[in-house]
Every structure is written in structure tokens, then in C-alpha cells.
């Protein structure tokens, strides 16, 4: 029986190129260097996480070549930024490179701008039938991912510049995880784009990333949430380093699946001139617009309400236009089987990681709060998200359900996911109060 598994896994090592091996060697050496240099500040778990990060990224890079380039560039740019800091925070005001390009906030602002531009490019490509524009979209999305990763890496460094006891991995509050969410969603999309050759989907998926970035900008300008905050005692744990990223693989892929589901519905009802198909599309589009501009509803009392009205209006107009142009869009979208396949895969990946994330959360909770499951609102909503996709997968796998109902369901899943991710922090209180709005 073992035979059935082994040759398969061993093949991963066979036939690797020099480039593959030097990539692996680079990562291993990097990890060892970090361990030698900073190991004395880490506990055993943190060392283990550092050392395990190497094989994880080796596997990722071997499985998907583009990750290597991303790692190389993001690490290079971050090191450049760190070098430019010369160990002093004030340099972010003085050095041009830091002030306008690659200090954490500048990089994240660039990421935001690039994501918006990428969305626009993808739409130009889709509506104008221009491959070139779509390719530009891909390029812009990659650049945004590079800037975003750099932003987080440099932020990590900056946190240590503020104070040795303040430094921590930048995935500890809502601001930081929103950047992470944008990156994860974009990266998973880019993966499927490369594998399935589906540039047209970028237009859809980048909508959800743009919405996240819109929120991020509001959060920055209105709430000044970008400030690095020290960790409260409950968060001072190595668990955070694995719990949060695993969670955001889930949130990212679920959102991705929802947008692909929307594209699927477009493809299905695209030809409909009027009647139920078109009506359904309109409904879906407006619901999505409302959902993506959800903050508009929640925050209309605080801040400038015109900002949110405009925000919602933009989404409504964009989605209205999408539905109005459905015929043209539907013609250019990939085949339904392809869409269905991507939707399934991203939910399957997300489900796996979301399960891990929830379990890691439970293990951490057991240590920090004294109970692996306290029915805290965030926990409960994670369970609800999990149950939702468990049901989705059961229907598809066991009942053989396919087509529009599943696409609708995936789209509805976005509502549940968004609530778990954001709504809980806005409307409910509980132990997870670090992400309070």
C-alpha cells in the first residue's frame, strides 16, 4: 500500500533543476542565518516555525515558480528599505526612497494604487477584448503584491525600531490583516490565472480586493489605524504566526470563489435579455455592491457619510454596468466548466486551511483563555463559515450538485465570510477584541 503513495511524493524531488535546488539552498541558508543571528531572542516554537518556513516556501516555489520571483523581489526590496533605515526611524522622513516608495506605509499606499489600477486594466481588457490590457492587469497585480509584501515586511522591521519589546509580526490587528487579505486573495487569483489561463476573471476577483483596499484606505485616513500597536499579553504567542495566515488563506480563497461564482452566473445568464436570469443577475450584482460597500451601511453615522455614499454609489454603478454589459462579458468569460473547477478548487483549498486555522485557534485559545472553545462570537462565526462550506462541499461531492445553485451558494458564502471577518468586529464583542472597529 505504501507503494501507492511513495513514488508520487518522491517524484517531487526528482528531476529538479539547478535553479530549483539553488532556490531551496537559498531559503535554507537564509533560515539558518536568521536562526544563528536572532535565535537567542526566540523560543523553541518560534525557532521551529522559522525552520519549517524554509521547506514550506521551497514546496510553494517548486510547485509554482512565480513564488520564487516574488520572494526574491520582495526580500530584495525589503532589505533595501531596511538598509536605508540605518537603524533609525526618522530616516523614513529623510530618505527619499523610504519616504515615497518603500517605507511600510508608502509601500502599502503603492499597493493600494496598483490594485486599483490592476482592476481598471482587467476591466479594460475584458470589456475591450484587449489581451494587452489584461496582461497589464496581471503585471500590475504582481507589482501590487510585491509592494504589499514589502510593506508588511518593512512594517515588521519598523515595529522593532520603535522598541525591542514592541516588535512583532504584522498580522496582529485589523489593519494588518486587511493587507494580508488583499495579498492572499490576489496571490491565489494569480495562481489560478497562470494555471488555467483565465485573465478575464481578474476583472471579477480584483473587485473584492479593491473593496478591501477601499476599506483599508478609509481605515487609514479616517481612523489612523496604520499605527503600529504593541501586543497585548494574549497575543504574545507564537501561535499567532500560524493561526492568522492560515485563516487568511481561507478568507482569501472563499472570497475568490464567491467572485468566480458571480462570473459563473454572468456566464450562465449572460445571454438573457430579460426575465428571471437577468433579474437574478441584477439582484446578485446589487447585493454584491452592497456587501462590498458594507462598511458604507455600518459607518454612515460616523465619519463623513458622503464618503460612504459615494463609495456605495461607485460599487452600484460598476456592478450595474457589469450587468448591463453582461452579454459581452459572458462571451469572453472562460467556459463554465473552467469557472466551476476554479470555484471548487479554491473552496477546497480554503476549507482545508480554514479547518487548520480554526483548530490552531482552538489550541491557542486553550493556552491563552483556558478553554479551547469558549463560543466567543469570532469562534462561533468561524464555525458557521466552516459549516457553510462543509455543506457546500457535501452537496457538490456527494450529491453531485453542479452549476448555478452552487455558484449562488458560493456568492452567499461571501456574506457569511465577510461577517465572520469584519462584521463580528463591528457588531459583536468578545474575546477577539483586538480587531475592534
Amino acid at each position: 500500500m505504501l507503494q501507492a503513495v511513495l513514488p508520487h511524493s518522491m517524484r517531487m524531488l526528482r528531476g529538479r533543476s539547478v535553479l530549483d535546488w539553488s532556490y531551496a539552498a537559498g531559503l535554507v541558508l537564509g533560515a539558518l542565518f536568521a536562526l544563528a543571528r536572532y535565535g537567542s531572542y526566540m523560543d523553541g516554537y518560534e525557532k521551529a516555525i522559522l525552520l519549517l518556513a524554509a521547506p514550506v516556501f521551497i514546496a510553494l516555489g517548486w510547485g509554482w515558480g512565480s513564488i520564487r520571483a516574488l520572494l526574491l523581489v520582495a526580500a530584495g526590496v525589503s532589505l533595501l528599505a531596511i538598509g536605508a533605515y540605518q537603524g533609525e526611524l526618522v530616516r523614513s522622513e529623510q530618505a527619499f526612497l523610504l519616504k515615497y516608495l518603500i517605507s511600510s506605509q508608502s509601500a502599502i499606499m503603492w499597493m493600494s494604487a496598483l490594485f486599483f489600477l490592476a482592476t481598471a486594466s482587467y476591466w479594460t481588457g475584458l470589456l475591450g477584448g484587449s489581451d494587452f490590457a489584461s496582461q497589464v492587469g496581471t503585471g500590475l497585480t504582481w507589482s501590487a503584491v510585491v509592494m504589499g509584501s514589502t510593506g508588511l515586511l518593512v512594517r515588521w522591521y519598523e515595529s522593532y525600531l520603535i522598541g525591542a519589546d514592541i516588535g512583532h509580526i504584522p498580522i496582529s490587528n485589523l489593519y494588518e490583516v486587511f493587507v494580508l487579505f488583499s495579498l492572499m486573495t490576489a496571490l491565489f487569483y494569480l495562481y489560478y490565472e497562470e494555471r488555467c489561463g483565465t485573465r478575464q476573471l481578474g476583472a471579477f476577483v480584483m473587485m473584492v480586493v479593491s473593496a478591501a483596499v477601499g476599506f483599508l484606505l478609509w481605515y487609514t485616513f479616517e481612523r489612523e489605524a496604520q499605527e503600529i500597536q504593541p501586543l497585548v499579553p494574549a497575543l504574545q504567542s507564537w501561535w499567532m504566526k500560524i493561526h492568522v495566515p492560515a485563516n487568511f488563506v481561507g478568507y482569501g480563497t472563499f472570497s475568490l470563489a464567491a467572485m468566480v461564482g458571480f462570473a459563473y452566473l454572468m456566464k450562465t445568464h449572460g445571454a438573457a435579455r430579460s426575465g428571471r436570469g437577468a433579474l437574478a443577475l441584477w439582484g446578485a450584482a446589487m447585493a454584491l455592491a452592497l456587501l462590498l460597500a458594507l462598511e458604507a451601511v455600518a459607518f454612515r453615522k460616523t465619519g463623513s457619510s458622503t464618503f460612504w455614499l459615494a463609495y456605495f454609489a461607485i460599487f452600484a454603478a460598476v456592478f450595474g454596468a457589469i450587468v448591463a454589459l453582461r452579454k459581452r462579458i459572458a462571451e469572453r468569460l472562460p467556459a463554465r466548466e473552467v469557472l466551476d473547477d476554479i470555484m471548487y478548487r479554491s473552496i477546497a483549498v480554503g476549507f482545508g486551511f480554514f479547518t487548520i486555522a480554526t483548530i490552531l485557534g482552538a489550541l491557542w485559545a486553550a493556552e491563552a483563555w483556558g478553554s479551547y472553545w469558549s463560543w466567543d462570537p469570532k469562534e462561533t462565526w468561524a464555525l458557521i463559515v466552516w459549516l457553510n462550506y462543509a455543506a457546500w462541499l457535501h452537496m457538490r461531492q456527494m450529491k453531485g450538485m453542479r452549476g448555478a445553485p452552487l455558484a449562488w451558494w458560493a456568492l452567499g458564502g461571501l456574506l457569511v465570510t465577510t461577517f465572520a471577518f469584519l462584521g463580528v468586529n463591528m457588531f459583536l464583542s468578545g474575546l477577539h477584541s483586538y480587531g475592534q472597529l
Binding site: E93, A368, G370
Partner: protein, 679 residues
């Protein structure tokens, strides 16, 4: 799935339903919806809060439905029980078949059946000699297939399969659900609820000393699963933990005692907590041995299967030294006394009996005393610019400062009405002057309204008291009025009648003010002055009041043998602050300000103690769940048959469990490769 025909029986039909996929998926949805309930309504709050929120009609109704602890109500447990049953039935039905099929190669596939597969091919092959079959086998093995060959009359059939472990995944993931639910049940308070329902244990309600809790409300050390909270003040110890259930509690005995040496709390410069740690000594009751331990957040202590977590902290009975001052007369404190946080003392204030309850003490308060950012500088560009750079810059805009200790107390009158007070020990600098702050609120939900007592140049309340006593002293009014009119007359050349009127006005304003501060002045204006002139009149009255107050203060100073002060902006400010304070004192509830003159802090640490025997089961379940899910989604289970007929025709059939685009590609790849090998 094969359908067998049975005669109808309700029991079998029920079983069928329970084991059905439809039922299982519906259950997932039901659990999700039921779980939502508990997140909408805050769980486990004191019952009084719910009563407040829902009123006397809905409160018992919701209580009956168990909405205050949804996740341990009978109906929620019943739903979970259904989930466990349904999953177990699915497992029981499918596992044997699943496991059987892992090892079973389907070698009996008929040639006709090849046509039933959507993914099939037929091609010419160079007869099954020359080792081409062996090469085909080698190719399949290379690609992760396990293979069996069987010789047929007219050729060879290769049955290949791969990824059969996926089926283990099904078994693992579904047993995991059962394990997690059962483990969770063991750790829940279901058993406790059952004991309460049967009456073998009884809740204690109200204020009861732990030592006086009766036997049928205590749980022995043998109790195999519990979760309780224990508060231990510094220097004290405890060998029990309190389990809160609804509006009552039970006491759980522990096999050891914990004594708190010290509770340590550290803060970042921004005021956020950085570290909570308790230094404890654990004394085992059986062995009588003691050992020290340190408990931190994220670093629990585990002893005798009981985990002790740093859950929270509290005041452990800090001693507060108080100087009670009359707000309406005299500079010297009325009296001094002491009290501990948590204590209730009887007190007489202004001839009325009160109870003072010391509720909270904070050794420091970190507040933002930086000047607020000027608004409207926020063009998009400038806001954009301010969000560039490093993510640390905001800190420069804030000025966080520790404004020192504060304490809170409640004053309860005869009728049981309580007002809450919040007093800072140290004066707080506001726009250049020093003010002593005391907050008061009538209801717990309100914000504190602050009484601000201005300090003089000697950092004492003496000058404020002098000014206040003079302003409220009616015997002085004639004198003050005269002086005020004279001073005013010096600047403006006024005639006699005007001066008399000014003097009268000054006297009247003071008189009015002394009744209820600015409120009575406003009431007076309301009555005496027509609408359109009121604003102007108010302005004049305030100016007169300030002038008269100044004269009153100076008069009082002269009588005390002190020299007159030169009026300047700072003195004017002081007069204004004093008048505000006098006016606010009328609405302070009691005429006494309880100034804190010293304290002796005692902290307490709150621990959560749990014994959760279900934990290993749940963790095992979690592990299995992950393995199962990854096996199910990432192992591609597929079967392949290759029939190599002696007449030179080969037939290929491919059957993945899931037909995805990847499998289409895989099929094409295998087809082309096998075609090449066999031809």
C-alpha cells in the same frame, strides 16, 4: 450506492433519514443557525443585565429558552446529538465498504463495460509481446498507480488504481467530528446542569462567603470536569474555585491550594498592558509539599490535571485614605478616614446617613493630554502625505501621560439610591492651570460629569475655599457690592444713581448665584428678561458676577490679613474656574468631596481553573480532521483499466472519483503515453 428493497417500517425509515446525506447537510445548516443566536445575544451576562434589556415580560421567556447560555441548553445539545448520530450512522454504513474497496482491484471489468466510461480510448497496439505490457505496467507504477494484471482468454487486463487513501480520509474526517463532539460534551457543563436538574446539587445565590457555602453546593475534588474562576488577593490563598451558572454559583474544591505572592502588571509607554503575571505558591493537599510557580497569559500552570490560567486581575482590597472636604464651606478637611476597596462603610454627610461603597482603584491612568489635531487640515493630499512613511509616526501627535491614581466609590442614601464618584488623587493640568477632578454619575451607564476644583499657586484648595466662602457669605454682599461699584466707577465716570444700581445688581447676582449657581442665574434671567435681550443681559450678569466674586475674594483676603492681588488673565481664569466649581457643586449630589490623600495598594489576580478530560479526545479529533480533509481533497483517487487484446487492439478506460479539468488532462496524458508504449 446500491438500493435495496425493504418492506416499509417506520423505524427503518427513521434510520434511513438519520443516516441520509440530506439530513446531515440540513443539520449542518441548523447548527450554523443555532450558533448564530448565541453571538447576537451576549452570553453569560449577569441576569440583571438581561432583565434591564428585555423587561420583565420577555426576560423569563428568553430565560426559559436558555438564550442566556445557548450553547449549553438542552435543545442545542439535542441538535449536536443528532449531528453525532447522523455522522456515526454514515460512518457505520460506509466505512466497511470504503475500506474494502481500498484493497480491491476491479479486475473483473468486462470488455463491454469499457464503453460506459466517459473517458475511454481505443487504439491499435503491437500485440502483447515484446515486453510492451511490462513497459505499460512500469509507466503506470511510475505514475503512482498500484497495478494488477490478469490474463484473459484473448489478452491481458491491467487494473490500476491510485489515491485510494482518499477513502481513509472520509473515515478519518467523519470520526473526527464524532470525537470532537463527544470530547466537547465531556468538557461542557452538561453534567453539572444534569446534577442541578436532578437536585443533587444546588446553586448558591447572592452574597455568600465561600466558607459558608453548604455541602450540596460544593463539588468534590473527584469531579472530573469543571471550569471555574478564583480571585486571590496578594498575600492570600485559596483552595477552591467558583463555578458560575446562570445567576448562581457552585464551589469546586481543589486538591491543592494557591497562594498569591505577587501580581505583576507591566505597561507599554502607550498605556496598553504588556505583561500580566502571578507569582504563586502551590501547596499540594495530599503530599503537603509546596513549590513556587509563575503564571502568565499564554503560559498556564498545570498541576494534578488542573490547568491554572491567568484570566484577569482585580483590586485585592486597596486601602484608601480619605480627607472629606465640605464643598460649601471651610478649607480644612471635615474629617479623615480610611476604607478598603470592596468595603462598605456607614457615613453621615450633611446630616444624612449614607453608605459609602469603595468599588475600584486604579494606580495610574494613562490619558491623551496632547492638544487635539486642528480639524479641516485634511485635504486628501495632506492626509495622504501623513499616511506615508513608517507606521510609527502617529505617536508624535499624541501626548500620553500618566495622570496618577484614581478611585471610585458609590454613595448610597437611605432610600437605596446610589451615585457613583470617580476621584483623581493628583491635580491634572488643563491649559496651564491645575485642577482636581471628581466625576459623578447617577446611573452606571452614564458618563461621569466632572467637578473641577482649581488649585492656587501653593497647590492647595485654600484660595478656592476662601473665594467660595466669600461668594456664598450673604453678610458680605453689601460690602462687596459697594466695592464692586466703586471699582467700576473708577474706570467709567458714573453718577451716583448708576453706582447704586450697579451695587444692587452685584448684590442681587451674588444672592441669586448662591442659591443654585449658574442655574439659578439662568432661571432668574428667564423670568425677568424678555427673550430678545436675554443674551446680552446674561453676558452683563456674568461679567458682574465675576467682578463681584473678585471683590469678595479680595475682601476675604484682606480680612485674613493677606494682601490684595493684582488682577490679570490668570487670576480672572482662577475666578472663573472657582465660580464654575461652586456652581457645579450644587449638582454634585452630596456637599462633600472625598479627596484621596493616600493609598496602600493590594492587587488580586483572577485565575481560571479547568479540568478538561475531553481535551485529548478533542485534539485527537482535530488531528484526524485535518488528515481526513487533506486526504479527501488532495489525494486524487482514480482507477484505470487497460485491456491489451491479442488481436492488436487496446482499450483504455479511466475513472477518477471527481471529474475535473485536471483529470481530463491526466487522462489525455496517460492515453497518449500508453498509446506510445503499446504501439
Amino acid at each position: 450506492m446500491t438500493q435495496q428493497v425493504h418492506t416499509y417500517s417506520p423505524a427503518r425509515a427513521a434510520l434511513e433519514l438519520l443516516a441520509s446525506m440530506r439530513f446531515a447537510v440540513s443539520l449542518l445548516t441548523v447548527v450554523a443557525i443555532a450558533s448564530t443566536l448565541g453571538t447576537v445575544l451576549k452570553q453569560g451576562e449577569p441576569y440583571a443585565n438581561y432583565l434591564n434589556q428585555f423587561g420583565p415580560f420577555w426576560f423569563p421567556a428568553f430565560q426559559g429558552l436558555g438564550l442566556y447560555s445557548v450553547y449549553s441548553t438542552w435543545w442545542f445539545l439535542v441538535i449536536l446529538a443528532f449531528l453525532v448520530t447522523s455522522t456515526s450512522l454514515c460512518l457505520w454504513r460506509n466505512t466497511p465498504r470504503m475500506l474494502r474497496e481500498i484493497g480491491r482491484f476491479q479486475q473483473g471489468l468486462r470488455e463491454r463495460a469499457f464503453d460506459n466510461f466517459p473517458q475511454r480510448a481505443q487504439f491499435a497496439s503491437a500485440a502483447p509481446q515484446g515486453g510492451s505490457v511490462e513497459r505499460a505496467l512500469a509507466y503506470l507504477r511510475e505514475n503512482g498507480f498500484a497495478v494488477r494484471t490478469s490474463a484473459l482468454d484473448d489478452g491481458t487486463l491491467i487494473a490500476a488504481q491510485a489515491g485510494m487513501f482518499r477513502r481513509f480520509g472520509y473515515v478519518l474526517a467523519h470520526s473526527a467530528i464524532v470525537l470532537v463532539c463527544l470530547g466537547g460534551l465531556a468538557d461542557s457543563d452538561a453534567l453539572l446542569k444534569l446534577q442541578l436538574a436532578l437536585g443533587t446539587k444546588q446553586l448558591v445565590r447572592g452574597d455568600v462567603r465561600l466558607a459558608e457555602v453548604p455541602e450540596n453546593s460544593r463539588l468534590g475534588t473527584g469531579n472530573f470536569s469543571f471550569r471555574g474562576n478564583t480571585l486571590i488577593p496578594e498575600g492570600k490563598s485559596s483552595d477552591v474555585t467558583v463555578i458560575n451558572v446562570g445567576d448562581g454559583m457552585l464551589v469546586q474544591d481543589l486538591p491543592f491550594s494557591l497562594s498569591l505572592k505577587q501580581f505583576q502588571i507591566e505597561h507599554y509607554t502607550t498605556g496598553q498592558p504588556r505583561l500580566f503575571a502571578s507569582e504563586v505558591i502551590v501547596t499540594d493537599k495530599d503530599t503537603k509539599e509546596s513549590f513556587p510557580a509563575r503564571i502568565e497569559v499564554n503560559k498556564p500552570l498545570i498541576h494534578k490535571g488542573i490547568a491554572v490560567y491567568q484570566a484577569s486581575f482585580d483590586d485585592g482590597g486597596t486601602l484608601i485614605k480619605i480627607a472629606a472636604r465640605n464643598l460649601f464651606g471651610g478649607a480644612a478637611p471635615l474629617r479623615s478616614f480610611e476604607g478598603r476597596i470592596g468595603e462598605v462603610l456607614a457615613l453621615e454627610l450633611g446630616g444624612m446617613p449614607y453608605q459609602i461603597e469603595f468599588t475600584a482603584f486604579r494606580p495610574f491612568n494613562i490619558e491623551n493630554v496632547g492638544a487635539p489635531e486642528p480639524e479641516a487640515a485634511g485635504s486628501l493630499m495632506s492626509r495622504m502625505r501623513s499616511s506615508l512613511g513608517s507606521a510609527s509616526r502617529l505617536q508624535s501627535k499624541r501626548e500620553l501621560r500618566n495622570v496618577g491614581p484614581s478611585y471610585q466609590y458609590k454613595l448610597r442614601d437611605n432610600a437605596g439610591q446610589a451615585r457613583e464618584y470617580h476621584n483623581y488623587m493628583l491635580p491634572i493640568q488643563v491649559e496651564g492651570r491645575w485642577l482636581l477632578m471628581s466625576g459623578m454619575r447617577d446611573a452606571p451607564g452614564d458618563a461621569f460629569r466632572y467637578l473641577r476644583l482649581p488649585l492656587d499657586d501653593n497647590a492647595s484648595l485654600d484660595e478656592f475655599s476662601r473665594l467660595r466662602d466669600a461668594v456664598l457669605n450673604k453678610a458680605l454682599y453689601a460690602d462687596v457690592g459697594r466695592r464692586f461699584a466703586l471699582t467700576a466707577a473708577k474706570s467709567d465716570a458714573l453718577n451716583e444713581t448708576m453706582r447704586t444700581r450697579l451695587q444692587e445688581t452685584a448684590e442681587r447676582v451674588l444672592e441669586t448665584f448662591s442659591a443654585r449657581g449658574f442655574q439659578s442665574v439662568a432661571d432668574f434671567l428667564e423670568k425677568a428678561v424678555p427673550d430678545d435681550e436675554r443674551e446680552k443681559a446674561a453676558e452683563i450678569y456674568v461679567r458682574v458676577l465675576q467682578g463681584a466674586a473678585w471683590e469678595a475674594w479680595m475682601l476675604a483676603r484682606e480680612r485674613a490679613g493677606l494682601k490684595r492681588l493684582e488682577p490679570d488673565a490668570a487670576q480672572a481664569r482662577f475666578v472663573q474656574d472657582s465660580l464654575n466649581a461652586v456652581s457645579d457643586a450644587f449638582f454634585y449630589g452630596v456637599p462633600v468631596y472625598m479627596q484621596i490623600s493616600g493609598f496602600d495598594e493590594v492587587k488580586a489576580s483572577v485565575f481560571q481553573l479547568t479540568r478538561s478530560p475531553g481535551k485529548p479526545i478533542v485534539y485527537l479529533g482535530c488531528g484526524l480532521l485535518v488528515l481526513g480533509i487533506f486526504a479527501m481533497f488532495y489525494l486524487r483517487e482514480r482507477r484505470l483499466w487497460l485491456l491489451v487484446r491479442s488481436d492488436g487492439i487496446a482499450k483504455l478506460a479511466y475513472s477518477p472519483t471527481r471529474r475535473t479539468l485536471d483529470e481530463d488532462k491526466a487522462f489525455a496524458m496517460h492515453r497518449d503515453a500508453l498509446m506510445r508504449i503499446l504501439s
